[in-house]
Structure formats: structure tokens, C-alpha cells
Amino acid sequence: MLKPVDVLMVGVGGQGTILASKVLAAAAQAVGYDIKVSEIHGMAQRGGSVVTQVRLGERVYSPLISEGEADVILAFEELEALRWLSYLKPGGTLIINNQQIYPVPVLAGVAEYPQNIIAQIQSRGVNVQVLKALEQAISCGNAKAANVVLLGALAQKLPIEEKIWRDALAATIPPRLLEVNNTAFTAGFTVGTVSVGC
């Protein structure tokens, strides 16, 4: 019996949420999960908020995750973590990249970017795992691999073996970028063994 898992990936257009969801789906498929993935795109290239919903189970009906239902929220950006936090179920885990990308209303000075988002969320008793995915990706050799660092941390929480993740990466990522992404995955996967904060 495969354990049902609902994962919400949230971020900003251009952060690579869609690629991360593709690798997750490929890995889940390899272990025999039924899968539904739902995403709203179209505006992704224009800096809007993006969300990809991935549902795994023996049999998945709805492609959507409702409020209070996500087992894991994988947040590529702090403000987006805050925006989607209501979707986390009690006892669920928030994996959060400590990156802040200011939306235009904040840049334009008509809205404020909330202070200390991570600490505020932690104060609500939520299981939070903080990653410096961007820094780690840069030290792995490519800033664009931050999505795969986060994916590594997610992988640590899911009942899918590491080898299957590696195969899924190889099947999804172009060969010339595979090595750096494998390193990025390891970085996230290793961090994922230790719970930070909270």
C-alpha cells in the first residue's frame, strides 16, 4: 500500500517549480504511484506567483489540494510560503528556501514585505525546515539548481528510495546539466536528514 502524499510547490515564475514537479512525478511513477499534477501557467514568465500541486496515492481522484490538506509545502520563496501556508495540514512539513523576491507592489513601495516570515511561521508551531537553496546551488556551480536542492530536501521526506530519485533526475534533466543537479540534489538530501529550526 503506497502512502498517499500531497505536495504543494510554491514559488515565483522562473524559479523552476515545474521542473521540480516533473522529477517528483517521474520518481513517483517509478514506484507505482497513481499521480495527478496540476499547475496554472501562462503568467509564469511574468513574475507572478506560481503553484504546482502534486498528489500521489494508490488512486488519486482530484488533481487539486485543498486548504489544510498538504503533507508538504515546498516553498521556493518566503512570501509564497506565507501565502500558501493555510494549505498545510496539521502535522505537515514546510520546507522553505530562505530567499526573498520582492513583488512589484513591494518594489513600488505600495505594500510591505512582511518581516521575519520564517520565525513567524515557526512561532505558530509548524514543522519548518529552512534551506539556503540558492547559496547551496551557487556553491554546487549553478544558481539555477536551487530547485533541485529543494527537491533533495523533499526527497528525504518521501517514501521513495534515493536511487529512484537519481534515475528520475537523469531522465528529466539534460545530460550537460545532470552532474551539477546531482550535486545540488545531494546537498538538499543531506540537509533534509537534519531538522533545522523549530
Partner: protein
């Protein structure tokens, strides 16, 4: 072999496996990927038409002559194609024709959330509604077969969550592509009144046969459950209902026009309480009530927006079908509200310069459909209206003729793809009726909003071949516009000068603001830097709504990895603090 496919890719696969020879459409979210996927299959001819009406007419021709055909569009595109559509059921087809209507409940990427199921009833089409990708692929194939068997066009109606959700699909082998013989048959295909009346009677007969088919097709089936609660549903709502009420009896309708009325009566008699779950309008509910059956529908479930399982749980809780779920504390309770993150015009977007200028000149601006609707939001606020494809030109002309106070103070803005879609006739009207209006064509050389599709002025077609490139300047002149100016929008001072002079000049004028989309032609030049001494923190640059510019500690800050060096802010800065390269002429 099973693959994880979106509904759109599955529809393309279904067309490929089932002998489709011709595919046509116009890009529109959430339908675009169907044709993009089909264009990669060998042996299928695919094209972007300038608009949905033309696409459908291309499809009608191919189907009449015996080829299996798919035509794709978003829901509002069907409005454009409605004229041929409403007579198509009369003539019928020869090779099967499936029209995909991709609806958008919740308006993720649309100006309205019209329920196109009414088109199927109105135009007397057969209608199929998939609830996942496997059904999308299967119904594409079955739709072609139904179309040929009953001599009727078939509408395959999807919604965003079917079109853009991915689920597992079993792939099949393609059948041979065959063209059915064509023979001239004016009584079938020449819709003059005398023959139209005959086809109207034929249509009634064909509809009756389809209704019989609908009673027996495996597309409409009962999921057995308890006899207390029964739900009639279709499309994505079926999946939600299965999740929320796993024990209920469910009548799943895959074919929703014509409805299987006898099957509905039979199902209703089996259950104590009957619900109808459908997004948007009470399309099923009204027809079920007309049978004299008691149902609960829109008094419980919303008319508007997209459904999800949380919403259905609340509704069924209210109805006493589900016990109220335990109150779970919201982890976000008491935390600050997240400020919105609206999509914005990209760094380097050539439209930004136009909207900045229009706002500065305090003009009334009728807008159109495309990326440039993003220029309507603060702080650019460069557009007053957006109604439908092509509306900007007619509206500007209407203002010009009716309201003297706004005469010479109004412009229309329309994109290149949108102009070719349905702006040409509006411009012809402005010329014919001696308009004084000014039309700005935002020519970024692509259909940007839907993901950079080609169109008749890009020089390429959907199949990736070189194509004749319509000259928009000559096109406007040929319609009778005497004043056509081409400007580079990134040259702010000339842009402003041309707009100021054209709005007060009698007669219609067209300004073509031409510069390729910043995402299409990535010309990344050195990022702008800010001279801290000269910057006074006046925030003029913020009015550009550029994602690369912010104010930090009362000084402008340009984020180097977001800036593409378009130098628009350099031109706007009053103190010379913004430093960049030379303005590209």
C-alpha cells in the same frame, strides 16, 4: 505503456492515434498546447489560423472533403467561431470533426467564465466532457467516431483543470489516416433556405438518434454506491465527488449533449436524495428539473469560480450529507497577510514605454487582449478598458464619434496578433466612417501572452516552416489609413512626439510601436547602474513598474540580474542618476 500527460497533450495524442489529418486553431489558454503538440506529430497538417472563425472554417472544409479534423480554441474563441458553428450541425460532416472548447472556470487566464456547454445545446452538437487525461484521449477518438456515425460536429469541452492537469494515460497505436470519399451534395452542404429547411429536419432526426446513443453509451455510467445519496455530475466535478463522497452513488455523464434522460430518471429513482454537482451554470440541473425530478444543485453549490474538494466538503456538510469536519486551526492565523504578487510586464518589455507615455499624456485608452492588459494595473495604469479580441479599435472610434470632450484624447492599443485576429475590420470601419481615432499597434512580433505562437506577420507557421510575412504597415495603408507611423517604443521622446501629433490630426492614424518581445529576442545588455550622488529618491522610475527597480533607503536600486539594460529608466530619470549604455535607435 502509461505516461503522465496533461489533458491537452492527451487530446493531441488522441487525435494522432485516431487518424486526424488536419488540425487548426488560434492560441488561447487553456487550449494552446493541443496544437503545439500536434504540430510535432508527423503526418498531421496543423496550422494557427488568424482567428477561431477561420480555424473552424478550415476544419469544416477538411471534414466536408472527408478528412478527420480537430479544431481547438479557448471558450471565448467559440464566440468568434459561432457563426459557422451554428450552421455546421445542419450540414454535418463527412470526415469526423471535433471542436475542442477549453473553458476557464475561475478565470485563471480569461476575461469571463462563460459556460460553453450551452453552445452544444444551442448549436445542437454532440458534447463530450472528460474528467481526466485518459478520458480526454479516449473521448477525442470516440468523438471522431460519433461525428462520422451521426453526421454531426462534436464538441469536446474541457476546463482548465482537465486541460492543464496531468494524469496517467495508456498510449495506443495510431490507426491509418484515411480520407473518406467526397461527392458533391448540395442538399447537404449548400445552406440556402430550401436546403436548410431539409437539413433542419434531418438535424432533428440526427439529434433523436444521438439521444438514443446517449442512453446506451458507456460514456454515461453509474458508479454504484449507497441508496441514500446520489450525485449526477460531469467533467472535473466527477473526480471531486469521488474524492469527497466515496460511498455515494454517482451518475457520471461523459456525454452531456444530448443528455440520457431515461438513464437520469432511472438513477434518480434509485436514490433518496439527489444532488447535481457542476461548475458554473446549472446546465445539467435545469434539464433534470424539467423531467420533474427533485434535485439539489445551485442552491447549495456556487455558480461562480472553480470547485475543489474542500468547497464540496463544506457544501455537503451544510446539506447534512457529511458530518461537519473538525475545526482545524489555520497555521496562518494571526500571521500578516501576504501582499499580492501580480504578474507584470517583463523587464525590457517594449509595451512598458507605450503605457508610461499614455499615462503621462493622460489619455483615455481602449485596450485589447494580450500581455498588455498587465499595463492596466498600478503604477502604469495605462489602459481604461479590455473587453474582447479586437474591441479596442471599435471602442475608440465610438468614443471619437459620440463624446466631443474625449475627441483627440483617446487612443486604442492592440497587439500584432490581436490586430490580425480581429482588429482589421475595426480599422476598416474607422477609415470608412471617417474616424479621427488613433490606433497604436503594439507590434512585438509574436503572440506573447499564450507563449509566443507564430502568426501571419512573424514569417513562420505552426509547423516551423518559413511563411509569407504580412506587412502590417502596408496592410493598414491598403485599408485606407493615410497616416501610418512606425516607431521604436524604446525611443521615448519620439514615441511621445508621434502620439501627441497623431491624436490631434484629423482622420484615422495608426502608430506601429515595433520592438520584439523581450522574452523572444533576449538582448541582454549591461545592467543600468544608479549614481547615488545624483539620485534624489524621487521615485519617477518606479512609475515604470519594472521588476528590476526598487527604492532602498530612499535611493533607486536596479537589481542587476533582473535588469536587461533596456535603458527605459535612463530616459525617464530626471536627475541623470540612472546610468546605462546608449539608447538603441
Amino acid at each position: 505503456m502509461k505516461e503522465l500527460l496533461s489533458g491537452n497533450v492527451a487530446i493531441a495524442r488522441g487525435a494522432f492515434e485516431n487518424g486526424v489529418i488536419l488540425a487548426a486553431g488560434y492560441p488561447g489558454t487553456p487550449s494552446t498546447e493541443i496544437l503545439e503538440t500536434l504540430s510535432r506529430y508527423k503526418g498531421i497538417y496543423s496550422e494557427w489560423a488568424p482567428n477561431e472563425k477561420v480555424a473552424l472554417e478550415v476544419g469544416i472544409g477538411a471534414a466536408m472533403a472527408g478528412a478527420r479534423t480537430i479544431v481547438t480554441m479557448k471558450h471565448v474563441g467559440v464566440n468568434v467561431a459561432a457563426d459557422p458553428l451554428l450552421s455546421l450541425a445542419y450540414t454535418g460532416v463527412n470526415g469526423g470533426l471535433v471542436l475542442v472548447s477549453a473553458d476557464d472556470p475561475g478565470m485563471h487566464s480569461s476575461q469571463n467564465e462563460q459556460d460553453n456547454r450551452y453552445y452544444a445545446k444551442f448549436a445542437k452538437l454532440a458534447m463530450l466532457e472528460p474528467s481526466n487525461s485518459q478520458e480526454a484521449k479516449d473521448m477525442m477518438g470516440l468523438g471522431l467516431a460519433i461525428s462520422e456515425q451521426f453526421d454531426i460536429p462534436v464538441m469536446l469541452r474541457t476546463t482548465t483543470r482537465v486541460a492543464h492537469s496531468q494524469s496517467m494515460v495508456e498510449l495506443g497505436e495510431p490507426v491509418a489516416r484515411e480520407i473518406k470519399p467526397y461527392s458533391k451534395d448540395v442538399k447537404k452542404n449548400l445552406m440556402v433556405p430550401a436546403f436548410g429547411r431539409l437539413r433542419r429536419i434531418s438535424l432533428a432526426e440526427r439529434t433523436a438518434k444521438l439521444a438514443e446513443y446517449s442512453e446506451n453509451t458507456p460514456l454515461n455510467f453509474i458508479v454504484p454506491g449507497n441508496d441514500k445519496v446520489g450525485v449526477i455530475t460531469s467533467g472535473i466535478s466527477f473526480q471531486l465527488v469521488r474524492e469527497v463522497l466515496p460511498d455515494a452513488s454517482v451518475l457520471k455523464l461523459g456525454m452531456t449533449n444530448p443528455l440520457p434522460l431515461e438513464l437520469i430518471k432511472k438513477f434518480a429513482a434509485q436514490v433518496k436524495t439527489l444532488f447535481v454537482v457542476e461548475e458554473l451554470e446549472p446546465f445539467l440541473e435545469e434539464q433534470i428539473r424539467m423531467l420533474g425530478i427533485q434535485v439539489t444543485g445551485k442552491e447549495l453549490f456556487p455558480y461562480t469560480g472553480e470547485y475543489n474538494q474542500g468547497l464540496l466538503r463544506r457544501c455537503f456538510g451544510e446539506a447534512g450529507v457529511l458530518s461537519a469536519s473538525p475545526q482545524v486551526e489555520d497555521p496562518a492565523a494571526g500571521l500578516p497577510q501576504a501582499p499580492p504578487r501580480p504578474p507584470v510586464l517583463c523587464a525590457g518589455c517594449p509595451h512598458r514605454a507605450v503605457f508610461y507615455t499614455l499615462r503621462r499624456l493622460k489619455l483615455t485608452v481602449t485596450g485589447d487582449i494580450g500581455c498588455y492588459t498587465l499595463g492596466g494595473l498600478p503604477p502604469l495604469e495605462g489602459i481604461d478598458s479590455c473587453v474582447c479580441m479586437g474591441a479596442s479599435i471599435g471602442m475608440a472610434h465610438g468614443i471619437d464619434k459620440a463624446v466631443p470632450d474625449l475627441k483627440g484624447r483617446t487612443v486604442a492599443v492592440i497587439g500584432d496578433s490581436t490586430f490580425l485576429h480581429s482588429g482589421i475590420t475595426g480599422l476598416l470601419n474607422a477609415v470608412y466612417n471617417n474616424s479621427d481615432s488613433t490606433i497604436i499597434i503594439l507590434d512585438n512580433r509574436t503572440t506573447a501572452m499564450t507563449g509566443h505562437q507564430d502568426h501571419p506577420a512573424t514569417g513562420r507557421n505552426l509547423m516551423g516552416q518559413a511563411a509569407p510575412e504580412v506587412d502590417i504597415t502596408m496592410l493598414c495603408r491598403s485599408l485606407g489609413v493615410k497616416r501610418v507611423e512606425v516607431v521604436d517604443p524604446m525611443d521615448l521622446s519620439r514615441l511621445q512626439e508621434v502620439i501627441k501629433s497623431e491624436i490631434i490630426t484629423p482622420g484615422p492614424s495608426v502608430i506601429i510601436a515595433r520592438r520584439p518581445c523581450a522574452l523572444l529576442k533576449r538582448e541582454i545588455k549591461p545592467a543600468v547602474t544608479v549614481d547615488q550622488e545624483k539620485c534624489t529618491g524621487c521615485k519617477t522610475c518606479l512609475k515604470l513598474s519594472c521588476p528590476a527597480i526598487s527604492i532602498v533607503e530612499n535611493k533607486a536600486l536596479v537589481t542587476a540580474d533582473a535588469c536587461v539594460g533596456c535603458n527605459l529608466c535612463v530616459q525617464v530619470c530626471k536627475t541623470g542618476a540612472m546610468q546605462g549604455g546608449q539608447v538603441d535607435a
